[in-house]
């Protein structure tokens, strides 16, 4: 349910209608930014938001994203010795 994708707001296009241009991997689409707007609309420029059906639904929190990644990396580091062992197996299969 509910396909959503991170995009960056790059410009305000129609302040009356709360519309701005969002960019996802080089693809642009005009979106409504009402859910993430606070104060003057220009404030949304540069922000990353979760885009769903043409709306910037939620501002992405960089700090929280970093925390999640850190937790994942923590697991990864504990894993490094195992990875080194797995590298031997990978060499056997990766012949393409």
């Amino acid at each position: 349910m509910c396909l959503g994708i991170p995009g960056q707001i790059v410009a305000v296009t129609d302040a009356d209608r709360m519309m701005a241009m969002a960019e996802v991997s080089g693809v642009r689409r005009e979106v409504n930014v009402a859910p993430i707007a606070q104060g003057p609309l220009e404030g949304v420029i540069g922000k990353w938001a979760l885009i769903h059906v043409g709306f910037a639904m939620s501002e992405i929190d960089e700090e929280e994203a970093a925390k999640t990644l850190e937790a994942l990396r923590g697991l990864g580091e504990a894993q490094e010795t195992l990875e080194a062992m797995a590298a031997g197996d990978a060499a056997l299969e990766g012949t393409a």
Binding site: L3, I5, V24, S25, G26, V27, R29, V53, A96
Partner: protein, 345 residues
């Protein structure tokens, strides 16, 4: 080629241009024969080529109809596709494309200037591909009975005696190669159509593959089969070949050459790039020991600069295409059901 076209008073095509009278002759001469320059004004082309004389040479004959909305899009137009598509159908069978026919169904009200642009790009593309458009036809239909212009091209080429490319030849251990990025055409059309209000810099990959095929076959003479991945994308072509050859094909998600914009568009609309249409994407099946040579030959040409290997032929699940995902998981890549629809879920 740069002669001034005969004067035409009309700005748009009307039913009179399909009526068989003077107006029709004016349209045909001013827009079509002036550009295509057939040898004679006969109702059929008379073909002669030295390649036909060779013992064991076979004629290759193919036909395809082209409808695209919009008729002009970033990277090409319907005329360019109509030439490339048929040239490619010949080339991937190992044929040297020689002659094309072109039949036009034109909607009343279509701008003459648009027709001229389409015809000009057909002439340019035919020249690049080394083929001649030797015969043709036009019909005009009422408004709403067609969408601006539909084109059918048929092509004739010659397959040399030493060539035998076919899907049945593909076998366990072969390598699957593509000539470049996947899905550009589908993404460009999706954006150009405008109903999803997306914009991007992606242009159609629409290109003739004749020279590329020649070059590959020189470098990798035991190439088993080739396909031009169009509608239904690379996934459909792989499924066709897996079924015909009775082999399985395993592709590797990390190796798929995808432009970030194409990925982005797919993520926004919930589409799978493996099913996006292409118009200049060659999928090759070559023996493993000739894969490097085939890749090098492709990379030497602009239409193959980003050539890469995407997978291997195996025998684990005959007739099936599987993909090793980013995580080393595996999933089946099936034929497309109907058309891919944008989704929000």
């Amino acid at each position: 080629m740069n002669m001034m076209p005969p004067k035409m008073r009309d700005q748009v095509v009307t039913l009179a241009h399909g009526g068989g009278g003077k107006a029709m002759r004016e349209l045909i001469e001013s827009v079509f024969t002036q550009a295509f320059q057939p040898d004679a004004m006969e109702d059929q082309a008379r073909l002669m080529d030295a390649a036909l004389q060779e013992t064991g040479a076979r004629l290759a004959f193919t036909t395809d109809s082209f409808v695209v909305d919009p008729v002009e899009f970033p990277g090409g137009d319907i005329g360019k596709i109509a030439v490339c598509g048929t040239v490619n159908d010949l080339a991937v069978g190992g044929a040297k494309p020689l002659w094309l026919s072109a039949a036009f169904i034109i909607e009343e009200g279509t701008e003459i200037a648009l027709l001229r642009r389409i015809v000009a790009s057909m002439v340019a593309e035919a020249e690049r591909a080394g083929v001649r458009i030797v015969t043709g036809d036009t019909k005009v239909v009422g408004r709403g009975m067609a969408d601006k212009v539909f084109i059918t091209t048929s092509g004739v080429g010659v397959i040399g005696p030493d060539r035998n490319l076919r899907a049945e030849n593909v076998r366990n251990g072969d390598v699957v190669l593509v000539n470049g990025k996947l899905g550009d055409h589908g993404a460009a059309i999706l954006a150009a159509r405008g109903d999803m209000a997306l914009s991007s810099e992606v242009t159609s990959d629409c290109a003739g593959l004749g020279h590329l095929m020649e070059s590959v076959l020189q470098a990798a003479p035991d190439t088993r089969a080739a396909r031009d991945a169009t509608r239904g994308g690379v996934a459909s072509v792989l499924n066709e070949v897996a079924e015909a050859a009775g082999c399985s094909i395993e592709i590797d998600e990390t190796q798929l050459p995808l432009r970030s914009e194409v990925k982005g568009m797919c993520e926004i609309l919930g589409l799978d790039p493996l099913y996006l249409a292409n118009e200049g994407t060659l999928v090759l099946f070559v023996p493993a020991d000739q894969a490097e040579a085939a890749l090098a030959a492709m990379r030497a040409l602009p239409e193959g600069r980003e050539a890469t290997s995407i997978g291997r032929v195996g025998d684990a699940m005959p007739g099936r295409v599987t993909m090793r995902t980013l995580f080393g998981g595996a999933r089946i890549v099936d034929m497309l059901v109907g058309e891919q629809l944008p989704r929000i879920c």
